[in-house]
């Protein structure tokens, strides 16, 4: 069965959702990962959307945004942003998804700008709810296309804190949530050691550890024994393609 790197990334992200988890879904690719998880191994997962929605069932149609009427239809709750953020801030969220323009070896994310405050090269959209998810979720999962200008030695701006400078940094600055548990890319899965530094935990079947290292902007630690990410199952791919038949999100950019 053939599949694309992006499909591999979304399916791998879906596997980070455990059955019964409360998931802070966010926008774009995680919307698809949530649906795949709900339709395969995690039917009891609950989805939070910061516009004010909670879902116990997957939406019936493809979502372009979390506030689409298709996400309201069949929702289990329609409240406000502060309600959902309050649930997040009081520890109810097991896993939250994040994306961004840059991530560093400690899982710190930048979605605010490339360049300095004085001379910004690219003004990016900003945090949205990402800083909140990064602050409070029990664990976060970062999704990102794998490229050296995205997995960088140092981010230009910390929008969503990961493990800061490593060690017990999160405790020192007072962040309640657990921090990142994985960076899932189009080439592999990075996880974090006890010092909060990312290492290669698995590489996708169509690549090699050497390619992953070459496309990472820091000297990525690769353990002696690295797994190959299990390829998508037929059920996972079908759930994804039924949800997004025209490839709006799963098509290659």
């Amino acid at each position: 069965m053939t599949y694309t790197p992006r499909e591999m990334m979304i399916v791998t992200a879906a596997r980070e959702i455990r059955d019964g988890d409360v998931v802070f879904v966010g926008m774009r690719l995680p919307l698809a990962a949530f649906v795949v998880a709900k339709r395969t191994h995690a039917p009891r997962a609950i989805g939070y959307f910061e516009c004010g929605l909670i879902r116990e069932t997957p939406p019936a149609a493809l979502l372009y945004t979390m506030s689409d009427p298709a996400n309201v239809a069949g929702a289990a709750w329609a409240g406000g942003l502060v309600d959902v953020m309050g649930l997040l801030a009081t520890g109810h969220v097991d896993v939250g998804f994040l994306g961004g323009a840059q991530v560093d070896r400690f899982g710190n994310l930048n979605t605010t700008r490339i360049g300095s405050a004085r001379a910004p090269k690219v003004r990016l959209p900003g945090s949205g709810g990402a800083a909140d998810i990064a602050s409070f979720a029990q664990r976060t999962v970062i999704l990102m296309p794998h490229a050296p200008h995205r997995l960088v030695e140092e981010v230009d701006y910390i929008t969503s804190p990961g493990y800061g400078s490593g060690g017990d940094w999160r405790t020192q600055v007072g962040l309640p949530g657990g921090g990142p548990s994985a960076i899932i890319t189009t080439l592999g899965v990075l996880r974090f050691d006890e010092h909060g530094e990312a290492y290669l935990a698995s590489y996708h079947p169509f690549t090699t550890p050497e390619e992953v290292r070459a496309k990472t902007g820091w000297d990525l630690r690769i353990p002696h024994e690295v797994d190959i990410t299990p390829p998508p199952t037929e059920a996972e791919l079908q759930a994804l393609r039924v949800y997004d038949p025209d490839g709006v999100w799963i098509g290659e950019a």
């Binding site: 689409d68 009427p69 909140d132």
Partner: protein, 298 residues
């Protein structure tokens, strides 16, 4: 009493130059695009825009030169990508520089909540360790006075908009308005704002609204104007009325990539049209009809 008036009159009377304006408080749904376009037509200047995320509307206003400052968590095009006008403003000062005070969604909600309950600030643990409090003067790093160890905390300064513009499904002439679907920070914003402009898909008899006061989004005595604007949130969706016009967001994204492209888009969809009825006519009946939802009994 009636607070009904035209959109042009509401914007002219209640949103002067230099206003602090909150819009897009439902996130991607029910964004008051028609009101935003009227701000551009009337040539407003030096606005401060407040909102959680702004799916394209803030980019229009920045590109049209209406904006001096933005307090928001996210400015872009949710389904299509970056905000090209915002990029030109921040990176090149074109058409004018814009100061951005970067928030998270939660801190924007808390800033409005603080203003709505008369508190100067609200403490939170969000964004600690991020660069948001380092650069935004409305997020202040402090310590918890109730904790002996002096644990770190962030104080979110209250934001009181001069005016909030909300698009709703239906309202009566007096300003009682029903809003449903994702509410975002709208409940906080109606309490925070000095006054409110309601744009509504339909103006209906009061009895229709008051049979369900739980769904009334704001105290009507804070409402300065009620404007009936069918389709007033297009291309964003209004639950129970119409779907999101995804293609419209894509088209704007492609055309606004260059300054000339944006200016042509702005003339075509805003400046060369007298009002929102003309906008819908320009959109075309077939395209508008295709977005309509089956109207459930609500």
């Amino acid at each position: 009493m009636t607070r009904c008036m035209t959109l042009a009159e509401a914007i002219d009377r209640f949103v002067p130059d230099g206003s602090v304006v909150a819009m897009g408080t439902c996130l991607e749904a029910a964004i008051p695009f028609a009101a935003g376009h009227e701000l551009i037509r009337q040539g407003r200047r030096d606005l401060t825009l407040v909102g959680p995320i702004s799916d394209m509307l803030f980019d229009h206003l920045v590109g049209a030169g209406c904006v001096r400052q933005i307090s928001a968590a996210w400015v872009g095009n949710v389904s299509a990508g970056l905000a090209h006008c915002l990029r030109r403003a921040v990176e090149e000062g074109v058409p004018a520089p814009v100061e951005i005070r970067d928030h998270s969604n939660f801190t924007i909600g808390l800033a409005l909540l603080a203003a709505g309950i008369g508190a100067p600030f609200i403490p939170t643990r969000t964004s600690m360790g991020s660069d948001l409090p380092l650069e935004n003067p409305d997020l202040i790093e402090s310590t918890n006075p109730l904790n002996e160890l002096g644990e770190p905390i962030v104080l979110v300064r209250a934001i009181q908009p001069d005016v909030l513009i909300v698009h709703v499904q239906r309202a009566d002439e007096a300003g009682h308005a029903h809003l449903w679907g994702p509410l975002g920070v709208t409940r906080e914003a109606v309490l925070a704002a000095r006054r409110i402009i309601i744009t509504a898909e339909e103006v209906v008899p009061s009895a229709t609204i008051l049979r369900d006061p739980n769904r009334v989004i704001a105290p009507a005595h804070k409402v300065a104007a009620v404007v009936e604007v069918p389709g007033g949130a297009h291309p964003s969706p209004v639950p129970g009325y119409y779907d999101r016009d995804h293609a419209f967001f894509e088209e704007y994204h492609a055309r606004s990539r260059t300054l000339e492209g944006f200016e042509a888009w702005l003339r075509e969809w805003v400046l060369d049209l007298p009002d929102h009825a003309a906008y819908l006519e320009h959109l075309g009946a077939a395209r508008w009809q295709a977005l309509q939802q089956t109207r459930e009994t609500v």
